[in-house]
Each structure stands twice: as structure tokens, then as C-alpha cells.
Symmetry: C2
Subunit: 218 residues, 2 copies
Amino acid sequence: MNSQTATTKSEPAGCLSTKPYHHGDLHHQCLCAARQLLEENNIASLSLRAVAKKIGVSHTAPYRHFKDKESLLAGIAAIGFRELTTQIAQAVEMHSGDPAAQLLEAGHRYVQMVIENPQCVQLMFGGILPCDDTYPELRESGDLAFDRLKMIIEEGQSMGIFKKAEIELMALTLWSSIHGLSLLFISGSLDEAVAAPVDVHPLTTAVTHLLLDGLKSG
Amino acid sequence: MNSQTATTKSEPAGCLSTKPYHHGDLHHQCLCAARQLLEENNIASLSLRAVAKKIGVSHTAPYRHFKDKESLLAGIAAIGFRELTTQIAQAVEMHSGDPAAQLLEAGHRYVQMVIENPQCVQLMFGGILPCDDTYPELRESGDLAFDRLKMIIEEGQSMGIFKKAEIELMALTLWSSIHGLSLLFISGSLDEAVAAPVDVHPLTTAVTHLLLDGLKSG
DNA sequence: ACCTGAACACCGTTCAAGT
DNA sequence: ACCTGAACACCGTTCAAGT
């Protein structure tokens, strides 16, 4: 039994390893460490130097793999967008042939993702990263997720269970609502505004059902 | 004519003034300068030292009026919440007796406020400030705005134009939707996802109408 | 190629000292 | 009371230098 390999494998996901001079995986390790540090504190207090320290590398080493701090942040955001797309895709697979169930499941997964990675989501949608085409990888997955949403609605329309309003508008309304609900959850604003203790899952279900009422045909 | 007063008054809102040793208004001037600097760049690059420099005061002077940087940020957020509440109140006054029109107007004003003060809104809802009762002033106005929203719905129900679902749930759905739509606007995500050029006002109207369909009685 | 250490211009925050 | 300057431990970023 190779003790070095064993040590690496037994790490809890902390991306630690016995570090050779060229460990080669620095790019991935930076993203991994940064993601952890980001969720532990917040966006403002994430420092490139702390990331380097966590991996056990000099504070200038990350510059081999990322142009600057912003570019590292963009890398984390990209991972988040990919994860969101995956979640929606899984929701669609799970309830194939039932658009309403697909939307409900996708909504739950979206909310769950936001609650589990609040700081990452703030990074994705918080206007810290530039909106232009500086990081094309970012918007591609967001785009993909929206397309999938539209496909669900299209199927619902052709099955006659959704009204035939403009697809893009219906998709936008659903996305906005679940997006807003998620962000209100993590902002803490709901704890004060809503009288009862905030119970994420049933609240998400209720909101979605109310929305679907507005989309129903007839 | 007193040239000193004239100079102060003719400032475009930049909060500049000929500075006596005790200018007394430092608290307000800090908030004002910070708000400007915040919108000019973003939250991460707002520095207490830059704020002090903009007012023409030593970099430790703000500590007389704010415990730390976070407490200054909380002050800015509080102003934002108060402004949001005011906007909704004005929307209610403007269309008294017509709950649907009140909701539409409030939505437009909410979106407008977010678009004009994106960084401030990120501060208000971005999870940078602690959610607990460290800054009680913050949640009080948010609370007030939500109450007003519920009153609109209540009136609509008693007039028989809204369905009699749970008021809090209906209010939450509306708030989430408009909140989410606003944040998607400023995040730039829509520019990529939506095919047509994003036109804020008509899009907000369309989304609200779709939502109101779901809230209608009958 | 990949990594390091010194250096620079910035931060937030504290504290003794000045008016 | 209100403000200042020096000091401390942090930042991001650059660059010559090392393996």
C-alpha cells in the first residue's frame, strides 16, 4: 500500500496533496480551494493570497493559471452555471412527459443549488463580473439552461396544458420568480417579512403552483 | 451674496463644501460619498479610505461616525430600503382604488430603482451584510414594504378581483417575481438568454400581467 | 515551463497625540 | 468632541530571479 496515494485519497475533498515541485493540477486546485473559501466567508474577503496559502503554494503561483483575481472568480462562476444547467437537465429527465412536474422539480433544484452555494450564486448574478464577452464561457451555460426551460414550456403548450402565450415571456416569468425566491431565501429578508418560519420546500412548491395557475390553458 | 454658501448650494449633489475643522455633517457626507463611489465601481472596490479622500478628510475620520466599514455599508443599504418603501407607497397613492394598477406601478418602480442603483441593491440583498439583528434599521423598512404589498392584495381580494389564496403566499410570489426580474436585468444574464433586445418597461408589464392572470378570481 | 521572493501601491483598523 | 499621522497586518499585481 502506497501511503502517499492513501493520504491523497483520504482527504475529505479539501484538495490537499503531498506537493511535488510541479504538481500540475494547480488550475483545478485553485478553483477548488477558492470555492471553499468563498462559501466559508463572503466574496469581499476572498483573497488570492489566502487561496495560495491553502494549497501550500507561493502567493504568486496562481498567476500562472489565472490572469488576475477576476479571472479566478469567473472560473468559479462558470462551474456554478454548469451545475445549474445540470440540475435542470436532471429535473427534465426525472419527469419526462410531465412538463408541470419538470418545472416544479427544476424549481426545487434551482432553489436548493442557491441555498447550498449562496456566495457562488452572488458571484454568478451579482454584477461583480463584467456582463460583456470578457468571459464567454459564463453566459453559454446560462443560455443553455434558459433554452431547456423554453423547451419544457413548448412541450406543455403542445400537450394543451399551458396557455399559448409567448414562450420566451412565460420562461422569463418562471425564471424570474424562482430566481427571486431563491435570492430572497439567502438574503435573509424573508425571515423578517414573512410571519411564519420560512420553510423552503413547501414555500417553493406553493409559489410554483400559483405561477402555473397563471400559465394554464383555458 | 455669500460666496461660500453659493458654492455649497451649486454643487451638483456631490456633497462637497468648504470644510471647516468641525464640519459636523461628516456622517451624512460619508454616506453620500460612499453611495456615489459604490455605484461608480462595485462593492468590492469601495474603500473607506477613498470615501475619506473624496470628502477631503483624513482616512480615520469616518471611524468617528461608523464603527467599521460594514457599518457604513449598512447605512447605505438602509437608505436603499427606505427608498424602495417610498416608491411602493407612491405607487399605491397614484392608483388608489385600483389594486392591479397599484401592483403594476409598484413593479415598475421597483425595477427602476434596482436598475438605477444596482450596486446598492446588491448590498441590500447580496448577503454581504449579516442577516441577524446587528442592523435592525435594515429589516424594518423591508418589512414595511412587504406589509404594504399585502394590503394591496387584501384590497383586491375584498373587491373580488383577486382569488382568495393565502395573502402572504400571493405577496411572496409577486415580490419574488419582480425582485428576480430586476436582478436578472442588472446581472446581464438576460442579454444573452432572451433573443430580442431587452426592453425593461414592456417586459416588466408583460411579466406582471402573466402573474396577475394567476392571481385572478374565478 | 513552473515557481519563488522582494517590492510597490493599496487596503482596514488601532492608538497616541493634537486642536 | 472631533480630527490627524504613524503603525500594523493585510491585500493585488509585477518582475527579476531561480529550478
